[in-house]
């Protein structure tokens, strides 16, 4: 919608072939730039309104959240909400649990994913490509289609209601292998060949050459995995029943279920649950976007 032309095409005069920057063309260009900014600002505003209302509500009293008309700026900033929430729900435990789970899964995914990706990209052996195809094929199968067999397995192994269930189910994803392999494929084989001639073993090549070279891809994978695990709801929801194991997402959801009228407190919790990810994203944005753009898959 914002892609609409800045001026109706019929009015736009055909450009003179020379494209000389005459002083006359500067005026319309300025207007055009201003118009573009107005469009962009409108879009950004629409996209960010839910965030604004989340933050502003988190600084209000409960009865000030849903008012007619809407008050975008709180009458008084109740920073005390951010102190109170720690007493209302065990926020420290939830945050700690989320950090632990996301960290453990990210680490395992990075290690096993990059290791396997080396095998899939730099070691030639029969059956390799067929196996890789099997990996890729599973990415297209919706997880929802096999969540029940997974659950039965975990139940029989008595791993439900432990972190093991979530870590084991999420740490060996095909996605990590895929992302890392795509990157390794772009590193020339000659480099490995030269290292082999110099007497480096395959493991040495992986550890001393490929890993240092693939830092951007590792950063992408780490960020994507961490954010996905942090935000994951269904995994912890299915497997973790004891309160002391809950992640931020489960804790917040349960708080909403119990105190659905305490809008301000709920929003305070929401802000706290989103904040670490926002900070992480802003720091590593470049890698994050690149990871998505190159792999195209979640």
């Amino acid at each position: 919608m914002t892609a609409l032309p800045d001026a109706p095409p019929a009015v736009a005069p055909p450009r003179p072939p020379g494209r000389s920057a005459s002083p006359r063309s500067r005026g319309p260009r300025l207007v055009r730039t201003a118009l573009a900014y107005v469009c962009l600002l409108t879009v950004a505003l629409l996209v960010l309104v839910p965030f604004a209302s989340m933050v502003s509500s988190s600084l209000k009293r409960n009865n000030e959240v849903l008012t007619v008309p809407v008050e975008w700026v709180p009458r008084e900033f109740r920073w005390s909400n951010f102190v109170e929430i720690w007493d209302r729900i065990p926020m420290t435990t939830y945050l700690g649990n989320s950090v632990f789970l996301s960290g453990a899964i990210t680490l395992l995914q990075l290690l096993t994913g990059s290791f396997a990706a080396y095998g899939f990209s730099k070691v030639r052996f029969p059956g390799r490509d067929a196996l890789f195809l099997a990996y890729i094929a599973t990415i297209a199968v919706p997880w929802q289609a096999y969540m029940v067999p997974q659950y039965i397995m975990m139940q029989r192994a008595e791993l439900t209601n432990t972190y093991w269930s979530i870590i084991l189910l999420q740490a060996f994803g095909a996605f990590g292998v895929f992302l890392m392999r795509q990157y390794y494929m772009s590193i020339p084989d000659d480099l490995c060949e030269a290292a082999r001639i110099d007497g480096l073993s395959e493991y040495g090549i992986y550890w001393r050459i490929m890993l240092p070279l693939s830092k951007p891809a590792l950063a992408s994978l780490a960020l994507l995995t961490f954010v996905n695990t942090w935000n994951d709801y269904m995994g912890p929801f299915i497997y973790l029943t004891s309160n002391e194991l809950w992640t931020v997402q489960l804790g917040l959801r349960s708080f909403v279920g119990q105190y659905d009228t305490e809008y301000a407190m709920i929003m305070t919790g929401a802000v706290l649950s989103v904040l670490p990810i926002v900070v992480l994203f802003l720091i590593g944005q470049r890698y994050f976007i690149r990871g998505i753009a190159t792999s195209g898959l979640k």
Partner: protein, 306 residues
Amino acid sequence: MAHAITRSASDSPPRRRPAWHRIIIGWSFILPNFLGFALFTLIPMLAAFVLAFLKWDSYNTPEWVGLENFRRLLRDENFYVALRNTLYYAVGHIPLTLVAALGLAVALDRKLRGVQFFRTAAFFPYITSLVAVAVVWNMLFNPTAGPVNQLLHALGVDDPPRWVASTDWAMPAVIVTSVWRDMGYYMVLFLAGLQTIPKEYYEAARVDGAGAWQRFWRITLPCLRPTTFFVVVMLTIQSFKVLDLIVVMTDGGPGRSTLVLAQLVYREGITEGRFGYSSAIALVLFVIVLAVTVVQFRLNERSSTR
């Protein structure tokens, strides 16, 4: 270990030696990931197919019943409700997200000071957890004092919908929320696609007097075809398996108005413990996704060879 390998390999003809060696080296790299992958993804995936033909709940021993689960499915009213709702969601979510993502990408694909800020802003919803997203949008959609309905009031709508509190409007509310969340993600894919279009095309079109609207339809869209196709396929798969947003936002309600297939699988399988029956539903879900994807690939082939 390396010694053992070379010794056993030296018995075979010299030319085969590197092959064996490489197989072992290759597998040693893949194995740590493959063990976890096979055990926790591949086996459950295959098991899901078998389970669909079993009668099995948490207490009794599994029993082969052939197509009985599927026959039961055809009599289950919940299945039809969930199927219809899933289609409803897909039909709303796919085109809206596509248009929003493409619009954002085209708008943000220009050299302006600060454009990076806007790209970041558009991507923000995607990294926000679904619980937070659901919490905020449920508040925005509040029927009496929510900002959405206040805006509609101001625009002259006397009787605005009750959104998540009404059976007719809960699904549109979910769709709006999911479009808002996902558009930034697909925008990134479109932005990557836009980078591949040679700038000369636009220059040439300008010289020929083509306006911005014409340039969009005649150059941008045709050149983006591969990206658009990929995005549509991804969106389709994503729409049919929608689960977590529904669970945290409406939990299938009010009534059964937002109950979707994946949620039915969850309820029957994990809440109720009917493993066989839920796997049958999951299999149907999988076959639908597969069929739609295959049809999309066929259509894409046909129109690109034309």
